[in-house]
Symmetry: C2
């Protein structure tokens, strides 16, 4: 399991390339939920999501020989762009396997960062199969989106930045997909703020991590139907789960409707663009699912890569 020192080491690696993202706050948000709330705006991160942190830390850790070979990643979302940009910045070849139903803009963005995009069938199984074939045949180094210590430590650097600004914190809310972000965040938080509670958040249809944590073993679910595409991971990773069992206090859920309402509030009142997954943790705080009052709370906006179609849907 990673330690706080691993996150400090990751910070030294990623510092020159990542944005130091701001904490956003709103007196209307605070008044509505009755707490002092700070939103860590990783939607303002490079590639529009926190994923660059872990991907850069991972690829920078490869040996010269591995860098020479190049990397392969599979993703329908932000990990694709994170791995592509990290590889480009480090001068490493990147092949990214994307399901053929990926939005054209995401494939274009990934190519824009210099990666070779290979399309596969839409199932996770096929993505893994094709990625493994490229790794085997071309000697590419697989870069997993979450079940990897370097990835987890890199994602934890976002919370390290929060620690520079908030000297006390009662609660940290983090969205949970595969568990990379909450893994690094929880290790960082428990070291930075003694007594802090770390709360994972999922949408209701995608509550595999909640069931896993409460039941004591990893639960695998069918691909959930939820607006939050970063929550469509069917199970958390083993390394991520180990951290969650030790450092995450609970996992709560919000509805897709609450996520949409949060996106619109963030947009209209806080002038910031969150993708559905990025609005999940703020939504749990805004709708105060834990019934907190007068606490200092931070929630991570994990990303802002929202399609024009989604905007039209919200403002239709």
């Amino acid at each position: 399991m990673i330690t706080f020192d691993d996150i400090l080491a990751a910070e030294r690696v990623v510092r020159p390339v990542v944005h130091r993202t701001p904490l956003l706050s709103s007196s209307t948000f605070n008044a509505y939920c009755g707490n002092r709330v700070f939103l860590k705006a990783e939607n303002l991160q490079r590639i529009g999501a926190f994923k660059i942190r872990g991907a850069y830390n991972k690829i920078a850790s490869l040996s010269p020989e591995e860098r020479q070979r190049g990397i392969v990643a599979h993703s329908s979302g932000n990990h694709a762009q994170g791995a592509a940009l990290a590889a480009k910045l480090l001068g490493v070849r990147a092949v990214v396997i994307m399901p053929k139903n990926s939005p054209a803009v995401k494939a274009d963005a990934t190519r824009g960062y210099g990666a070779e995009v290979v399309f596969c069938e839409n199932s996770l199984d096929d993505r893994e199969r094709v990625a493994k074939r490229y790794a085997d045949e071309q000697g590419l180094v697989p870069v997993h989106p979450f079940n990897d210590d370097k990835i987890i430590a890199g994602q934890g650097t976002a919370t390290l930045e929060v620690g520079d600004e908030l000297k006390t914190l009662d609660y940290l809310f983090v969205p949970v997909g595969g568990g990379g972000l909450i893994g690094g965040s929880a290790v960082a938080a428990k070291h930075l703020w003694p007594g802090v509670k770390v709360i994972g958040v999922e949408t209701e249809p995608a509550n595999d991590a909640q069931r896993s944590l409460r039941g004591g073993s990893i639960v695998r679910i069918d691909p959930p139907d939820t607006i939050a595409d970063g929550m469509r991971t069917q199970a958390v990773g083993t390394r991520n789960f180990e951290i969650m069992q030790k450092h995450v206090d609970d996992i709560v859920t919000v509805t897709d409707a609450q996520v949409l309402e949060m996106m619109r509030f963030l947009f209209e009142r806080m002038k910031t663009v969150a993708e559905p997954t990025g609005a999940v943790a703020p939504a749990a705080v805004y709708h105060n699912v834990l019934g907190l009052s007068d606490k200092t709370v931070c929630a991570i906006i994990s990303g802002g890569n929202v399609e024009a179609e989604m905007i039209r849907r919200i403002y239709a």
Copy 2:
């Protein structure tokens, strides 16, 4: 004319109540225009625009007797909300005169900050007439949106914050309505960065300040038809013009189409919501109307209060 010390004094007044807004950057933006660009995100300011800075500095400067009487402001836009919130924070009664065609959401927001909203006819003349009547009959202190030293000094605090983060700067681009923001910004900038060029930006139909500066006297135009509603001011103020003549190097224009393109880029690539007037200065940098290369440039996003209707228009 205000001095740098007036801005330092304003900073001490507004610090406890305003957000310290971040500088945003994008490698795509930089690559497109060929400069190192930082956007001062005053759209993330309280009330969604820089206006709270000047209004708070002004109302805080009133004597106890004046505060007892209350203030009156007239505005169709962000000054209404800035004056209302500043008055509320200082426990001062506020009456805000708004044209009857103001969007309901803006009147609601102004009332939400505790101000009394009085509707008038849509002309500037009628707004001024009604405001004067309230001032005369009820003894309210008028708070002008821009032609006032305390207002100008307060608006200058945004650039003071930029100075804490950028130790060198070649160009500062600022949108020009009545001249409050560029007045304070120019005084601050010329003190902070020796040799910096301060450039005002207007939309083409609203080029009164450009004509005024180039011609050497204040030009008054008919209400311009432009998407940028903060540019509909028909003439800059006398105090603002005095500063502009001394400290502003040039005023350039962008088209409404360029503003819309910028809004969409800011939204999609930089995950931040700018109102049309807020996108005017970034648009001049992005479309590089001065033909700069390899310069360090800052542009102020003045606000983010955009109506849902505008979003639908952009994404239609």
